[in-house]
C-alpha cells in the first residue's frame, strides 16, 4: 500500500466506531437495501470467526469502542454469539442490528450472557409480493414475538423502520404497531438512495405531500406519548439544500468491515472507482486506518474542489457524501449535489420534481421494482 498525501499520521484520530457486516446473506429481499449490488460475490469469501476476532482486537487496540454487528442478517452466521461475546470482553459497546428473523430465545439468552449491550430491530417489506407488510401476518407475529423477547431480556425496544413512497402512507399503522410492541425508540428514516435503493429510486422517493403527512402523524404520536416512545423522523436528503456530514468526515471515526474482509470508510465506498480498498486478510487495522491510500483519499479538505474548497461550511458537512457525489455527478471529489451550491444540484431537484407525480398503483409498480436477491445480485455484478 502506498502512503498518500494529506494529513500526516500524527494528526489522524483513531477510529471509534466499527461496523462489522459479518455476512451479506439475508432471508429478506428489501428493495431499499444499501448492501452492494454484487453482495452475492462475498458469499464464498466471508471472514472466519478467528479473522473477525483478530480484526476487532486490532481496532480495539487503536481505540475503537463502539461496535455494530450487522449484515445482511447477522443471525445468518451461527458464530454471531461468539463474536458478540468476545467483542464485549475486549471492551466494545456492542449493538446488534437485526431483522429479528432467527432471533430465538436460546440465541438472545446467549447474547445477553455474552454482554450484548443493545439490539436494534428493523422492519421492512419482507415479502416479494409488494403487499403492505402490515398485512403479512407471519412477519407481524414473528416481530411481536421477537419484540417480547427483547423486552423480556431487559433490552430497550429500538425499532428502525425504513420509510419510502410505498409504505410511508401507513405511518399511522406502523406507529400503532410500535406502540403495541412497547417500543422505547423508533427511528423512521426514509431510505437513502444507494445501491438497491438507487436502482429503485423513483419508486421509493415520497412526495412532499406524503412527507408532510407522515411528519404530522409523527407529531401527533409525540404529543400523546412524549418520552414514553421517542420518535426520530428523517426526511430523504434530496429534500434538503445542504448535504449530510457523511460519516462525520471520511476516515475520522468510522470503520466498516465487509463480510469478505474489505475495510471501508463507509458502507457504500466499495463502489468508488480508482481506490483500492485494503483487506483485513492482508493488512492489520493500524496500517489500513493510518497508512492506506483509500483511507487517506478524502481525509481533511485537500481533495476538495469548488464550491467546497472556499465554502465557509466545509468544516460542518465535509462536502457531504463522496459516494453520492460520485453516483450523481461522476466525480467523488465534487460537492455532494444535495447542496444548493453544487453546479449539479439540478440532478437532485429533478428527482424531487419527479416524485411529486401522482402515485402509481402498487400492482403497476411491482413489476418495475428490483428486489435484493441473490439472482439479481449475480446479474448486476
Amino acid at each position: 500500500m502506498t502512503k498518500a498525501g494529506s494529513p500526516p499520521t500524527d494528526t489522524i484520530k483513531p477510529p471509534l466506531w466499527v461496523n462489522a457486516e459479518i455476512t451479506y446473506k439475508c432471508p429478506l429481499h428489501c428493495v431499499f437495501c444499501y448492501n452492494p449490488l454484487n453482495y452475492a460475490s462475498t458469499f464464498e469469501k466471508e471472514l472466519s470467526t478467528e479473522e473477525w476476532l483478530k480484526a476487532l482486537r486490532e481496532a480495539r487496540e487503536l481505540g475503537a469502542v463502539q461496535l455494530g454487528i450487522s449484515g445482511g442478517e447477522p443471525l445468518m452466521r451461527d458464530d454471531a454469539e461468539v463474536i458478540v461475546a468476545e467483542a464485549s470482553k475486549m471492551g466494545y459497546y456492542v449493538n446488534l442490528l437485526t431483522s429479528g428473523i432467527g432471533l430465538t430465545e436460546k440465541r438472545i439468552a446467549a447474547f445477553k450472557a455474552g454482554g450484548l449491550d443493545q439490539i436494534q430491530l428493523s422492519f421492512q417489506d419482507s415479502t416479494k409480493e409488494m403487499n403492505d407488510f402490515l398485512s403479512s401476518t407471519r412477519t407481524f407475529d414473528l416481530k411481536l414475538k421477537v419484540a417480547r423477547l427483547i423486552k423480556q431480556y431487559d433490552y430497550p425496544m429500538v425499532l428502525n423502520v425504513v420509510l419510502h413512497r410505498l409504505n410511508i402512507d401507513h405511518i399511522e399503522q406502523i406507529l400503532e404497531m410500535a406502540e403495541e410492541m412497547q417500543a422505547d425508540h423508533v427511528e423512521l428514516a426514509n431510505s437513502q438512495y444507494y445501491a438497491w435503493a438507487l436502482k429503485n429510486r423513483e419508486h421509493l422517493m415520497p412526495s412532499r405531500e406524503q412527507l408532510e403527512h407522515a411528519e404530522a402523524v409523527c407529531n401527533q404520536f409525540r404529543a400523546r406519548l412524549g418520552n414514553k416512545m421517542k420518535l426520530y423522523f428523517v426526511v430523504p436528503d434530496y429534500y434538503q439544500d445542504r448535504p449530510k456530514a457523511c460519516m462525520n468526515g471520511w476516515g475520522t471515526v468510522f470503520l466498516n468491515i465487509a463480510p469478505d474482509g474489505l475495510a471501508l470508510p463507509c458502507h457504500e465506498a466499495r463502489m468508488l472507482p480508482g481506490l483500492e480498498f485494503p483487506n483485513l486478510r492482508d493488512h492489520d487495522v493500524r496500517s489500513i486506518w493510518y497508512e492506506s491510500e483509500a483511507f487517506n483519499a478524502y481525509r481533511g479538505d485537500g481533495w476538495m474542489k469548488e464550491p467546497c474548497r472556499s465554502c465557509d461550511e466545509k468544516d460542518k458537512d465535509f462536502g457531504g457524501c463522496r459516494c453520492q457525489a460520485f453516483m450523481l455527478t461522476g466525480d467523488a471529489r465534487n460537492a455532494d449535489p444535495v447542496c444548493s451550491k453544487s453546479p449539479h444540484h439540478s440532478v437532485v431537484t429533478d428527482q424531487v420534481t419527479l416524485a411529486q407525480q401522482p402515485r402509481v398503483a402498487d400492482d403497476e409498480v411491482r413489476p418495475l421494482i428490483i428486489f435484493r436477491d441473490d439472482g439479481n445480485s449475480r446479474r448486476l455484478s
Binding site: 471509534l16 487503536l62 481505540g63 469502542v65 463502539q66 471492551g91 459497546y93 449493538n95 449491550d117 430497550p156
Partner: protein, 90 residues
C-alpha cells in the same frame, strides 16, 4: 430537577463507564455514542456504583482530595448527570 442526596446512585440502563487508554480518559458509553469525560467528571462518576449516595460520593472525594472545597461542584455535576439521564436513583 434536584437530586436526592441520600439515595444510592447508579448508571441508567444502556450507560457504561469505561477507562479508555487510547483517549487517556474515562468515557461514558451509550448506544452508538460516547461522552469523553474531563478528569473531575471521571473521578465523580467512578464512584457511582449502585450503593453510594451523593453524600457518600462527596465524602469519598473529599478524602481523596483533601483541602479542596468540592461540595457544590460535585452536587452540580451529579444533578447535571441526572438531568441528562446518565445516572438514576431508581
Amino acid at each position: 430537577m434536584s437530586l436526592a442526596k441520600d439515595t444510592p446512585l447508579r448508571f441508567a440502563r444502556q450507560y457504561k463507564l469505561q477507562w479508555e487508554k487510547a483517549q487517556d480518559a474515562w468515557v461514558l458509553l451509550y448506544p452508538e455514542g460516547l461522552i469523553k469525560l474531563t478528569g473531575s467528571a471521571g473521578e465523580i462518576l467512578q464512584r457511582v456504583d449502585g450503593q453510594r449516595t451523593a453524600t457518600d460520593i462527596i465524602s469519598s472525594l473529599q478524602a481523596a482530595f483533601p483541602g479542596a472545597d468540592l461540595q457544590q461542584d460535585v452536587t452540580d455535576f451529579l444533578e447535571h448527570a441526572h438531568d441528562k439521564g446518565w445516572i438514576t436513583t431508581d
